[in-house]
């Protein structure tokens, strides 16, 4: 992936999407540039989470128009796992608990599925653990969390740290962070942000979906996109955050 300013890693083109019978995204267009942090802000019900679900191919969402182009290919008909294997990662707002599925076993399966897809050697258990331990410390995660069932009984902060651990291990190219700051205390927010910032390499793109500007103090955005009623109504630089803080979303005109 080059760092060419005009290159787009992900192009969301005039997307219309429904959940049930309700149209949520109403002609949404958005381009993600390589190496940039794009923040999506908007009021409740604007379609922020639906946008993230649409990109990753969630079963709730039915795309009724438009297209999503990732690295030059349309992915709108791809299965969720194909999108993930090609490098799209969503950090869920509410990660699901899966009792009985061991966290380390799950993550190793996912990492090896991706490595296999990329034609790389799969990691054995020892190699995987060595790799993972590097990140556990950084994220302030207790080592017993990897031997527990996936997200089962994890606190809100632990779940989000676990999402970031997965992100770091899977090394995706496009990272969507859906309300990553919700339910996090200051320490957890700092640890999670540090993990995210570690992933910035000038090539990866980030789509940070948030209600509040707090997370943007930790993850510095390049662009702010305001989403309202299923469309991006304004795109600007980070200076827009202060304006939103002061005047709210209602003050933003299309």
């Amino acid at each position: 992936m080059s760092n060419n300013k005009n290159e787009k890693v992900l192009e969301i083109k005039d997307v219309h999407a429904k959940i049930g019978n309700k149209e949520i995204l109403k002609g949404l267009s958005l381009d993600l540039e390589p190496g940039k942090v794009h923040a999506i802000m908007g009021p409740n019900g604007a379609g922020k989470s639906t946008l993230s679900k649409t990109i990753v191919g969630h079963y709730d969402v039915e795309m009724s128009g438009g297209d999503i182009i990732y690295k030059g290919k349309s992915i709108k008909d791809w299965e969720p796992e194909e999108r993930a294997l090609e490098g799209i990662f969503l950090s869920f707002q509410h990660p699901v608990e899966i009792p009985g599925v061991n966290n380390a076993y799950f993550l190793r399966t996912a990492v090896n599925a991706k490595r296999k897809h990329e034609g790389k050697e799969e990691l054995n258990a020892a190699e995987f653990l060595r790799e993972m331990k590097k990140y556990l410390e950084l994220l302030g995660m207790k080592s017993d969390m990897i031997s527990r069932s996936l997200n089962e009984g994890f606190s809100g902060g632990e779940k989000k740290r676990n999402e970031i651990l997965q992100m770091m291990m899977l090394e995706p190219d496009v990272i969507i962070l859906d309300e990553i700051d919700s339910g996090l205390d200051i320490d957890a927010l700092r640890a999670v942000s540090e993990g995210i910032n570690r992933m910035k390499d000038g090539k990866r793109s980030f789509l940070v979906i948030t209600h509040y500007s707090r997370i943007l103090d930790y993850i510095e955005p390049d662009y702010i996109h305001v989403l309202k009623d299923g469309k991006v109504i304004k795109t600007a630089g980070p200076e827009l955050v202060a304006q939103l803080e002061e005047h709210g979303y209602d003050a933003i005109e299309e």
Partner: protein, 404 residues
């Protein structure tokens, strides 16, 4: 000789004896078995314990009765029983043919008596000390009716384990009538871990068992029934004072399988305890059966009885017949039972897919997670892995045509 078991329907004791060729002077146990069989009658789809199992079509077929001829077994590492004949025995282990001298005359299952009548003798296994033995059943005949029975004894104050598996060659259309009379000695523990993987259309099985758990003894019975075809295990368990049974049944069925467990656990002695858990995963057009009664007799004060069935349906045509029941005649006890049926959680599947795990692998991870609480009760890791592999094989057999 050929036999159609349904022809024994509504026949008198003497008529049954004649049709089975039991014309010589019969030992008392066979006389008693004849009487009970005539009394209970050949099972039909209306019989309570066979109502969810397609018994009539199995018993309506004509089979060549395969009479086993004893031969000298070789010394090996396992007990191997091929077509009802002992062919391999571990060195020093007492495995031999004998007459059954302790028939249970209160068993509810007519097939228990029929298999005793048809089997020319029983295979007795005496488990000495803290034995740990593998028992392999092997079937090599098509179109055969194969009746045989095992009588199992262990020793007081000892902890024995039997790992039981089943093998088959390229056979078809056979019916196996088989089962245990298990006598678990006072103050002992007997663990039976049964793994039975079945392909479609090889053989059907009715396994009718009696388990007597003597005072202060423990029975640990774990059954892992995987794959296709038709098989029913019927258990009758009698619990003495301070005795305990821990029964776990895992079913993973695919295709047109109809399999499961019918059980009656009788709490007879005071302070007896039972724990029975069934986990059922059903794919394709499969039908799972868990028809289980726990009966607490007047004599069984201060007992504890817990029973639970959980099922996951992987296909809209799959069906679970779960009927946990408690029959209680006293007040001084602790008891519970329940049954649930559901499907895999779509959110969980999607979460795994969103990390690059395929739809099929995601389903596999979730069903294994569901099954693991039972598989992990098998403490020996080698056998645990063997069960997991058999489970995966059955899973992929049911997912061959599923691309994603």
């Amino acid at each position: 000789m050929t036999l159609t078991i349904n022809n024994l329907k509504k026949k008198s004791k003497d008529e049954i004896a004649q049709m089975l060729g039991l014309t010589d002077d019969l030992p008392p146990s066979k006389e008693a078995a004849l009487e009970r069989l005539a009394e209970l009658g050949i099972p039909t789809k209306k019989s309570e314990e066979y109502r969810y199992f397609d018994v009539e079509s199995l018993l309506d077929k004509s089979y060549e009765v395969h009479l086993h001829v004893p031969k000298e077994p070789k010394i090996g590492e396992k007990i191997v029983i091929e077509n009802g004949v002992i062919i391999e025995v571990p060195k020093g282990m007492r495995v031999y043919y004998d007459q059954c001298d302790a028939l249970d005359l209160t068993h509810y299952d007519p097939i228990y008596y029929l298999s005793h009548l048809l089997a020319p003798h029983v295979i007795k296994i005496d488990l000495d000390g803290d034995a740990e033995v593998e028992l392999v059943h092997r079937y090599t005949h098509s179109g055969a009716l194969l009746p045989y029975r095992i009588v199992l004894f262990n020793q007081e104050n000892r902890h024995a384990t039997v790992y039981e598996t089943f093998e088959t060659e390229e056979i078809s259309e056979s019916l196996i009538l088989y089962g245990y009379d298990m006598h678990i000695a006072k103050d002992s523990t007997l663990r039976l871990i049964k793994t039975q993987s079945m392909d479609e259309n090889r053989y059907a099985m009715i396994s009718s068992n009696r388990i007597k758990v003597n005072d202060h003894a423990n029975a640990i019975i774990k059954t892992f029934d995987l794959g296709g075809d038709h098989a029913l295990q019927l258990l009758k368990v009698d619990l003495g004072t301070y005795s305990h049974i821990d029964a776990g049944h895992l079913l993973y069925l695919n295709h047109q399988a109809k399999r499961g467990t019918v059980s009656k656990i009788n709490h007879i002695g005071e302070h007896s305890t039972s724990q029975q858990e069934a986990k059922n995963i059903l794919d394709g057009n499969a039908r799972g059966i868990f028809d289980a009664l726990i009966k607490v007799e007047h004599s069984a004060k201060w007992t504890k009885a817990h029973q639970n069935s959980k099922a996951i349906l992987l296909h809209e045509d799959a069906y679970m017949a779960a009927k946990p029941q408690l029959e209680i005649y006293i007040d001084e006890l602790e008891a519970s039972h329940g049954a649930t049926t559901g499907q895999l959680d779509r959110k969980q599947i999607f979460y795994l897919q969103s990390r690059g795990i395929s739809y099929v692998e995601a389903r596999k991870m979730l069903v294994i997670a569901f099954a693991n609480t039972l598989i992990e009760t098998v403490k020996d890791t080698r056998h645990q892995e063997r069960i997991q592999k058999a489970f995966e094989k059955a899973f992929y057999a049911g997912h061959k045509e599923l691309k994603r």
